[in-house]
Symmetry: C2
Subunit: 139 residues, 2 copies
């Protein structure tokens, strides 16, 4: 058996693609616009890491997507946690748990899916503004 | 960058390991019992497919873990969807969406995490009791 994907529902597909692709860095592998069912499915993966995908489900007739505590987060290893968090911040995304230790950070998607970012390899040297940045919200 | 894991919180670690390992078929890769923080982390993966993991977080001081609609499900490709669903049913797990088509089924973990099962390769030939089994609940 093998893992295929984690599915999350998204309210605003454009905002979600902006977050998951342009900011986080995933790529679109497939997109299916299903007129009959009035929904769109988009399969995403980290470049070169297509074995583990995220499926975005966008129902064209929106409903509010609340969060629950049974789901925790999606975790990605990243090349440059400072650069990625800066890109998120510049785009108006709150870095809920800043990478004070050069190792780990948390952000949330537009639908409040918690995303853990882990620096690849050894932690980066502590660096401002991250070292002294407080937590903001929950993740 | 690469995908590391999907984290879910579990109320009853033994019941969850029974579900994810003995019934679903995942394997334990690592387990960390953190006395200081009063939590246990268990990393699971499909055998031979360790690149995509599920992290179970068990907080020793329990809280109710409700579900939310922003998270959808975890999906696994399986070798024998009928055999797996039978094993689930025999263990008292509700097959919320039976594999009527020999292709897809949904079950839920003890903490109501929805799990999609997809038959590897071509769909199996329709077979009772699955072909005529009704949906049960939501997933």
């Amino acid at each position: 058996m093998r893992f295929l994907h984690t599915m999350v529902r998204v309210t605003d597909l454009d905002a979600s693609l902006h977050f998951y692709c342009e900011l986080l860095g995933l790529e679109v592998l497939n997109r299916f616009d299903i007129e009959a069912g009035r929904f769109t499915l988009v399969f995403l993966a980290a470049p070169g890491n297509e074995v583990a995908q995220v499926e975005l489900t966008h129902n064209w007739d929106p409903e509010p997507y609340d969060g629950g505590r049974n789901f925790g987060h999606l975790a990605y290893e990243v090349e440059d946690i400072y650069g990625l968090c800066q890109r998120m911040m510049d785009a108006g995304v709150t870095v809920n748990r800043p990478p004070r230790d050069g190792h780990m950070a948390f952000v949330r998607s537009p639908d409040q899916i918690s995303i853990e970012l882990i620096q690849k390899g050894e932690s980066l040297a502590p660096q401002e503004p991250w070292s002294s940045m407080e937590n903001d919200g929950v993740w």
